[in-house]
Structures are given as structure tokens and as C-alpha cells.
Amino acid sequence: MKCDKFIEALSTRVKVLEVTRQCEDQVTALVELNDLPEAVRFLYYDMGGYLTTMVPNDERSINKHYALYYALSMEGGKMFEGDEIAQDEKCFVTIKTLISPDSLVFPSVTPLVPACVWYEREAYDMFGLVAEGLPDKRRLVLSDDWPDNLFPLRKDAMDYRYRPDMKDHYMEPEYEFLRPEGSGIIDVPLGPLHITADEPGHFRLFCDGDTIIDADYRLFYQHRGMEKLAENRMNYDQMGYLAERVCGICGYAHAIACIEAAEKAINLEIPARAQAIRVICSEIERLHSHLLNIGLACEVTGNYNAFMHIFRIREYSMKLAELVTGGRKTYGNVVMGGLRRDITGVEIKESLRILHIIETQVDEVWDAVMDDKRQMSRWKGVGILDKQVARDFSPVGPNIRGSGIKRDTRYDHPYDFFKQIQFDVAVVEGGDVFAREMVRYMELKSSVSIIRQCFELMPQTAIIVDPTFHVKPENYALAYVEAPRGENVHWIMQGSAQKVFRWRCRAATYNNWPSLRFQFRGNNLADAALIVCSLDPCYSCTERVTVVDIKSKKSKILTHSDLKNFARTQKESPLKDLR
């Protein structure tokens, strides 16, 4: 069977207490608490794994312990040609460990595998589990004035509607940013509020002149407690709609990942036609997301003309979504066991016409953008993600494929209809903004071809299975979907009464943030917005900026337009009167 090879290898290193299999390509190995870091490191670096997600769980009602699940995608290191596991051996191995509620301490994996840093910080926020040896123990998800000793995802902690009182502004604890040592460093805070983007995030850039030497950021201003909400009052029919609202762009990928996790936990196979339509809709989502990002990457650098043209083409992809699902953004057609809405022959015909328009016009505009030397000089060599950094932090999506690592969930772990579809994984060497945008362009082309293949191969079957299925409490599974920004991973443990016991939703960008710091280093302040944009994190920075010069203690508030102008023209640095 798949995965056995890895479990065998693992048991030569550490003591494996128990092995359970969730589905064909997912196994869980229970290890002792002290063996945890070594077990994860061994699978990550020695066996060629990437960290998919980590799920802390309150299992006191099941086995009187807290549990941690480190899910690793076994696919090979991919650092050089041939450094890859054979296609039929790729799988997910989860390392599970139990933590006693008396100690609440576990050994941190982060010193050995840096990719775990955010997950372990979150484990403290949500469950109060302390990672011993974690270099960065600040809060991650909850706000700084959240009451100590209140850990929301513990089953007995609080009602899901409870909102603790906010502290007054002056009482609020200060968030400590990681700052580099030295004099003459200028702090540039970006955000958290801005009018243009849908996601707030606070970036603290440390600059020497106009050069960024380091960066730190505080995110999760929009943490809404969806996981707690779903555990308390949602059934599976409602969860799909909630998951679809996790993200404003790749919502559909979340919806299918969430529902597929629930389906996998009970080994429910959905009809082939439903699989194909799920793939079609998620590829349409990729079309509009990538067009949005390429457009914004032009807009941030001041190339308005190209931006407008790309958005003109993007409108066709929105129309396509409207045509086949009835909604421009929220497709709302996923339910457990299949789909709610079929695609008719007339719609297929019209879709093919729109796809042709998108394909030809994207080529035209991309060609013009590539010809533009000024545009290229802004993209090339900026925001480089080093290959080794990428290996250490497990980023996903175009971010890692732009660094020459061939990681794509559709290719590594083909789900749904992807087993029958042929496509090339877009990989570009270089790691700069240009490489990432190039990956996106190549994926636009492959998405069009995938949708066409789906229309062609889609069998005439039902789109939903008989809904008499029974969920089994304590079953759990991972589901993974390659969203436009990378893989969205959902982990669901089922509970009783058609509810979930634990839902862990990991969005693509969650894995991309920790390595962003390295992408900032050494770049010009004017490129900061572009680098964040090329990550495609819901374009989230340049609204309102305070600049403080540590040396002269002078400060200045930059407006959205000040910084944007500087980003576009690279002239008249807004910081010059501070020096």
C-alpha cells in the first residue's frame, strides 16, 4: 500500500506507537511527545516532505489529551532534477502526538523545520499549548488585548458568540516587532487599514535609506472565528457556504476542500460529472484570480494601460462563471455528495466561445507587456525567493513554482477529475516577481486547456449521490485543492449529530507569509508593494504609512497616494525630508 514505505523508514528512527489509515493516500503515525521534532524533521528533510498543515486539537473528551497532527505531503525535495518521489508513491503522512492537559507543553519543531513557526504560534493562541524552544513566542492570530488564559478553540473555553471587552487604546499591550540591530534604521509601518484592498495587514519595514533590510508583519486583523462557529452551529450543508466565504478570490477552492475533507473522512466517492464540474469551476476561478494579479502587478508599477486591458479580459472570466454557476463570485453549488447545479449543452457551447476570446486576448496583452522594457525592469530581479528558503518554509502556489520547485497539488496528489487530465506544471526559475507572473501566465493557458478537456471528457452521469450517508464520529481526513494562490488544505474531524468536531482551514497564503520576510530583504522601498502583490495575498498594504526616523525622532505620515506615487515613478522619495 501507499505510505507504508515512509512508516517503515520512520520506525527505524523513532518509536511508532500506532498507525492508522484514513484513506488510500493518508496515514497517521502516533509518536511519543519527545520524538515529535525528530519524526517531523526526518520526514521533511530526509524523506522529502513538505509541511502541509498542522492541526492542534482538543481531544480531552475522546482520549483525555490534546493532540497535534503534523501533516506532511511526501513528494520529494524537488531541489534538483530527479529529486522527486515516484508518482504512485506520493502521499500524505501525518505525525500525531498526544499532550497531557496537566503540562500543556510540547517540544517545538520549528528549530529543525522552520515551516512550522506560524502553526506553533497559533497552537498557543487557540489552545494554550506551549511550544518549548520556539524562537518566536508572540501571539499570531488573536489580538494583543485578548484575555490571557482564554483559549477559544478549547471545547470548554467559551460560547462561540462571546466577545471579550476591548481594552482602551492606551491599555493595549504593545506588539513587539522583530527589529534588526543598528543605528540609522528607519521604521516604515504599512497598514493595517487601507481603502483599496479587502484584507488588512500591518507591515513594519526596516529601512536603511530606501533599502529594506528586514521586515516583520502583524496580520489576522480579520480573524472571525469561523472554525469555532462551524463546530458549534453548522451542519455539513451550511459549512460549504461558510468555507466559500473564507476568501474573496479563491473561495470556491475552500468550499470544495472543506466538503471533500468531510467526504474523504467517510470515503464517499462522488460522481465523475460532479468531479469534472468542480474542476471546471475551480479553473474558472484560477482564470480570474491570475488575471487580477497580473493586472495588479502592472498597476502597482504604474502601467495603467496594461492593467485596464487585463481587467477588460478578466470580465470575460467573470461572465463565464456567471454563465455556468449563476454567480459571478460565489458559485454556491457544492454540497456534500456532489453538486447542486449541472451545466447544460448550451452553456458549454457559450463557454467554449468565451474561452477562445480569453485565450487569444490574453496572448495579445501579455505579448505587449513583455515588450515593454520599463515594465520588465520593474519586475525582474525584485523580491527574490531563494530556493533553499522555499524548501525550508514550504510555500505554495506560483510563489514556489516561480523559484523553480515543481510543487502543484493537481500534479502531486491529483484529486477529483485531475487523474484523467493532462497538463503541464508551470515552473519558472528565478524566484523574482517576473518569474511568478510568468508562472501565472502559463497557468492561464493551462487552465483554459483543462476546462476544454473537462468539457470533452465529462461523462453523462448524475451530479449527486444518494444523500443517505452516515458520518462517523472521530473519523478525520485531509482534503487539498490547488487554489490560484496555492494549495488550500482543510482538515476535518467529524463529530456526532452531523456536525464537525474540529475543522482546520488552512488558506494558501498562510504558508506563503513566513518566507515573505526574506523576499523583502535588500529591495527598494518602492518595490515593497509590488513584492507583496506578487505573492497575491489580496493586495494588502499601501494605504496609510507612518514613517519614524529612529535617529532624529522625526515622524511623518505618508498617505496612500504618496507611497503609490513613489511605487509608480520611483522618483521623489517621500522619506527625503527626514534624512
Binding site: 453548522m234 450543508d237 451550511q238 457556504y241 461558510l242 466565504r245 494601460n305 496594461a306 486591458h309 477588460r312 461572465k319 456567471e322 454563465l323 449563476g326 454567480g327 460565489t330 454556491g332 447542486r340 495579445e364 496583452v365 505579448d367 505587449a368 507587456v369 515588450d371 515593454d372 520599463r374
Partner: protein, 179 residues
Amino acid sequence: MMKLLDISKKYGEITHKYPFEPYKVCENFRGKPAYIFDLCIGCAACGIACPSNAITVQLNDNQSKLIWEFDCGRCIFCGRCDEVCPTGAIKLSEEFELAVKFDKSALIQRGELDVQYCTTCKKPFSAKRLVKYSFDCLSKANVSEKRLEEAKEYLCMCPTCKKTATVATFTSGKEMVIE
């Protein structure tokens, strides 16, 4: 740079004149759910199916009317209500212009249905139209005249009284012939 200008020239003006002329949406567009009061029977299927609690069906304060209420501000346009409605009283329309001016209560749509009072305990328990709908369904179902009369009686009783009445008939010692 010049290439982009050429493309601009090629495609010309592509923006719609909206809002000065109507914007046409695709067939089967999922817009604002349109409610047809005359068809509504107050069965509350939509209220149970609605994932975001945008539709509620409950008795008003003095228990004289059954209030069907739809809050467009909570609606996620999934169309579950459309799917479950037995009479087609709620259908997703093509309407997408939903903004209201200052007054959020304009987002709320409501229908007041007459309630059926229980013949025994005189408490309200359902909508008159639902009782009529159930009776109509039974009349079409090839049920004998006598059974139909009996059903009419039962339909106008609240669930608790119905239970009591059934138990009373079963234990009264009378013999019954099921036709």
C-alpha cells in the same frame, strides 16, 4: 507601449452604459430571491434550509399572524430556498441592485399569513394556507370521502391535541374499520 495602444484601438470602447441602460445578466443568474405572497403556504421549509438565517418564519407577538420574513442583508444568494419551496413562492430573480438609502429596514421583506387555531385548545399552530394545502393534496390522493372528513378534523388540530385525540380514539374501545 505602442502595442498596448494598438490593442486599445482594436477593441475600442467596451464599457457598458450602465446605469443609464440596463445591464443584462445571464440566464439562471442567482439574484435577489423574489417572494410571491399569494403562493406562500407558510410551511417554513425555506427557513429551515436557509444556511445564513436570512429567512425566518415565526408567530408575531400577539400570536395572531404567522410572519414570514426575509432579510436581504443576510442573504448569500445560494438558492436553497428556491430548491425546497413546494409551491414556487420563492424564486431567485435577476435583480442585483440591492443597495438601500440609509434605511436598513428597507432590506427586509415580510409576509403576514393567517394562522390556524387548534379546534381543541384554541392555540395557534400553523398557517391556514398550509392546512388547506395539505387537505388539497390529500383530496387529490384518492382517499375515500369518510377518511377525508376525518383528515379534515385532524388537520385543524395542533400536534399535541392530535396525539391526545388519537390516543383517546384508540383506547375508547370502539371498533374501527379501515377502508
